[in-house]
């Protein structure tokens, strides 16, 4: 599957935060694919490729089921996605909390308490996240060192959506979930009408067909609103927090991804991390 398989339907535009911010088709998956189909080179597309947020909202929208995030990462790095696969052997449960959650010990402790039996992974792999984002190379040695402790786990919860996507390939036989999915059973009952529940888009969108029923059911039972668009795809917060709130009457905002809390400061509403709902 490649850019040449794009039929140009444009459904990706509807969910693309870069398009929402720019209204410029050149900066979208459709724009890149159409340009490549007509002879554009990597260099021609540099601004478009660099501008992508890798939120992954375009993937569940694409009727051709193109691996659009991989395609951007390959255009950035000039390489295919690192193809390592490690077999897991242990029974540990590990949490990779990411930079934002690790920086707030109280919330991290609360999250760990809700995730019964989990312990903190020794290495968050933030340099690997950065490399995935920027297209910088990841050495085999570094990747092996990062994955070695994770291979002792059967269940892993990951805060960083891009890392979650990568770990699912690198540790194919482990159960790897986002923080939202992992905590929903513990906090779902505490959501209520008047809440805006902000799903971490990278983690959700790379697994949307499986997760949508669960989130939709929660939305229905609690009466809360979510950052799901009409296609039931999670709208990324970056650059469009105001759009997510526009036209809604919200009393409280609950974020899955702690790093997205600041984006809603302008709203003048309480913004909680989902672990605080318990």
């Amino acid at each position: 599957m490649s850019h040449h398989d794009c039929s140009g339907c444009g459904l990706c535009l509807l969910v693309c935060p870069v398009w929402h911010g720019s209204r410029d088709v050149r900066l979208t998956p459709k724009g890149r694919a159409r340009a490549i189909q007509h002879g554009a080179t990597r260099e021609d597309l540099a601004a478009s490729v660099d501008g992508c947020t890798l939120c992954g909202a375009c993937e569940p929208a694409c009727p051709e089921e193109l691996p659009l995030v991989d395609m951007v990462m390959e255009l950035r790095s000039g390489r295919t996605f690192p193809a390592t696969e490690v077999r897991t052997q242990g029974k540990k449960k590990l949490l990779l909390p990411g930079q934002a959650l690790r920086a707030e010990p109280d919330r991290l402790a609360r999250t760990l308490a809700l995730l019964e039996g989990y312990e903190l992974a020794p290495d968050d792999g933030m340099d690997i996240v950065t490399a995935l984002e920027t297209g910088a190379p990841i050495t085999d040695e570094r990747l092996a060192a990062f994955l070695a402790p994770l291979a002792l786990a059967r269940q892993i919860v990951v805060a960083e959506g891009l890392l979650l996507r990568a770990l699912r390939r690198w540790l194919a036989d482990a159960s790897i979930r986002g923080i939202g999915e992992a905590l929903l059973p513990a906090i779902g009952a505490n959501l209520r009408a008047g809440d805006l529940y902000v799903i971490a888009s990278q983690a959700f969108n790379c697994d949307q067909p499986r997760l949508i029923a669960r989130y939709d059911s929660l939305r229905s039972s609690s009466g809360c609103e979510m950052n799901l668009d009409l296609q039931r795809i999670a709208m990324p917060v970056a650059g469009q927090a105001r759009w997510i709130l526009e036209g809604r009457s919200i009393e409280r905002i609950v974020v899955e991804d702690l790093s997205e809390r600041a984006a809603f400061d302008f709203a003048g509403k309480p913004v909680l991390h989902l672990a605080e709902l318990a």
Partner: protein, 510 residues
């Protein structure tokens, strides 16, 4: 050099020189002066090959052309400056919204491609008056997204998420509620239009009415729609019901009976060839559905899903040599039915966001790199014959295809809008349209073969006095045959007066 007759259907183009169905490329005289002029006015003109390549074809994927430059629309003032310069330097301007044309109408064969999706903001929602003012490059889906935050919805829009408001108002826009609410173009209350000579004009049925009449359903000939005021309504989830037929005639008769009686809020026909014909009806309210059950259900001739499946199984068991067709129908049903019943779009038996459901299914199971969708629009009386004859053409050319039939409620006070449009002139009360879409899949067809198929469908329309949704672009050779010289000359005179250099959307109609 003239192009010879079509080798597949040599009669299809009698009287129409082939070269008139294919747009010639503009030779770029005056481009440099034009470029300097627009840039001096602060208009960003993109000339790099990568950007121009994005717009090289439309959803049909059979017409290809490159603009010399692309402008992303940002404001009416910018569009005005662009059109004034284009008039002065005689540079063609092709306007594009979602680019969902199939006949190359939104493909620029040289000149400027004006990408209207740059103007996609909702400007004002009036909950009391039930109206919305929006920039016209917005996709209907994005408009719906904004309206839903306030419990509102548009009235009717194409079952395609990436149709733009402006593009739709220019050609019609059919929804499964069009038998009851009319086409999308009929919901426009007022427009801001930039005329081909660059004037920014507000128009409606009561203000600059002549311009309003020409721009609505005007195929982009008389101005660029930059803003629109549309009627909206309270959002309703709907309850969908399906009835299955083996006879097109019976299904259409039931569709027209139900429409005439206003028995449902939504109705339409979707088929797998002429073997499995689905009549869908849907309801906004329980009361309406209850009335349907009490009054009309007994008059509907279609079967339920289980009974129809049994009938088909028996039918194909008796005709084992048609196993390939049976297998196709079974596989098609297996992928389509779950798509229309995805649980995240259904709650308590009601379908939410029908456009999303239909559009995703359309792109996933009908879409592709190449699409041809010739259509016929007729009065109610002529519709069955039109569909049956069009169906015969489909069977002649393709093993697998789909028909999509729907009614369009007409507004007598909008007769001036309907002139030289998809609305057939002899239709009263309700018109009917049918799209004939072959399932091209991964097969490769020559453009001549596809053109011949379209021509044969359109020849049926000429004989019946029908109209077409897609009469522009590569099909424009039919315009005089369908509408007659007198009406075409009348509009051509108006077009020449409004667009002296004939620069706006060339090769679409004129």
């Amino acid at each position: 050099m003239s192009i010879g007759p079509d080798h597949v259907a040599p009669d299809a183009l009698v009287g129409i020189p082939r070269q008139r169905t294919n747009a010639g490329r503009w030779v770029a005289e005056g481009w440099s002066a034009f470029r300097d002029s627009v840039r001096a006015q602060g208009v960003e003109l993109l000339e790099d090959a990568a950007t121009r390549g994005i717009f090289a074809t439309d959803a049909g994927g059979t017409a290809y052309g490159l603009p010399h430059g692309v402008v992303i629309a940002r404001t009416a003032t910018q569009v005005s400056a662009l059109l004034k310069a284009a008039q002065a330097h005689r540079v063609p301007v092709t306007v594009r919204g979602g680019g969902l044309t199939t006949e190359g109408e939104s493909v620029a064969y040289g000149g400027v491609l004006l990408d209207m999706t740059g103007m996609s903001n909702v400007l004002q929602v009036d909950e009391k008056a039930l109206t919305v003012r929006t920039q016209a490059g917005i996709f209907w889906s994005a408009l719906a997204e904004r309206l839903r935050r306030q419990g509102l919805d548009y009235l009717s829009a194409p079952l395609n998420l990436t149709s733009s408001v402006g593009g739709t108002l220019g050609v019609g826009g059919i929804d499964v509620n069009s038998p009851h609410l009319g086409c999308s173009a009929d919901q426009a209350l007022a427009l801001q239009v930039v005329t081909p000579t660059g004037e920014i004009v507000e128009c409606s049925d009561s203000q600059n009415a002549e311009l309003f009449h020409r721009v609505i359903l005007g195929y982009g000939q008389f101005g660029v729609i930059t803003e629109a005021t549309l009627r909206v309504r309270r959002y309703q989830a709907l309850r969908m019901r399906y009835f299955y037929y083996v006879s097109l005639r019976a299904a259409i008769a039931d569709l027209q009976m139900l429409d005439a009686e206003e028995a449902s809020d939504y109705s339409g026909i979707l088929t797998m060839m002429d073997k499995a014909i689905t009549l869908l009806v849907a309801f906004d309210t329980d009361e309406k559905e209850k009335r349907f059950d009490q009054v009309f259900l007994g008059r509907v001739h279609g079967a339920g899903e289980a009974a129809f499946a049994l009938r088909m199984a028996v039918s194909y068991a008796m005709r084992p040599w048609r196993w390939r067709e049976a297998l196709y129908l079974y596989r098609r049903k297996s992928v389509l039915f779950p798509e229309f019943r995805r649980p995240e779009f259904h709650r308590e038996g009601k379908m939410h966001d029908r456009t999303v459901v239909f559009s995703r299914a359309v792109w996933k199971h009908w879409g592709g790199r190449q699409m041809v969708i010739p259509d016929l629009a007729t009065s109610a009386e002529k519709f069955i014959e039109a569909v049956e004859r069009g169906n015969d053409v489909c069977r002649k050319y393709f093993r697998y295809y789909t028909l999509y039939c729907v009614g369009i409620k007409l507004r007598e006070d909008h007769r001036p809008h309907y002139e030289l449009s998809c609305i057939p002139p002899d239709a009263r009360g309700r018109a009917y349209g049918c799209e004939f879409e072959p399932m091209l899949g991964d097969a490769v067809y020559s453009r001549d073969m596809l053109q011949s198929f379209k021509n044969e469908i359109y020849d049926v329309g000429v004989e019946l006095g029908a109209s077409y949704y897609r009469f522009g672009g590569m099909m424009k050779g039919y315009i005089r045959r369908v509408f007659g010289d007198q009406l075409v000359e009348h509009h051509l005179t108006k077009k020449r007066a409004a667009d002296p250099a004939m620069i706006l959307n060339p090769d679409v109609v004129f």
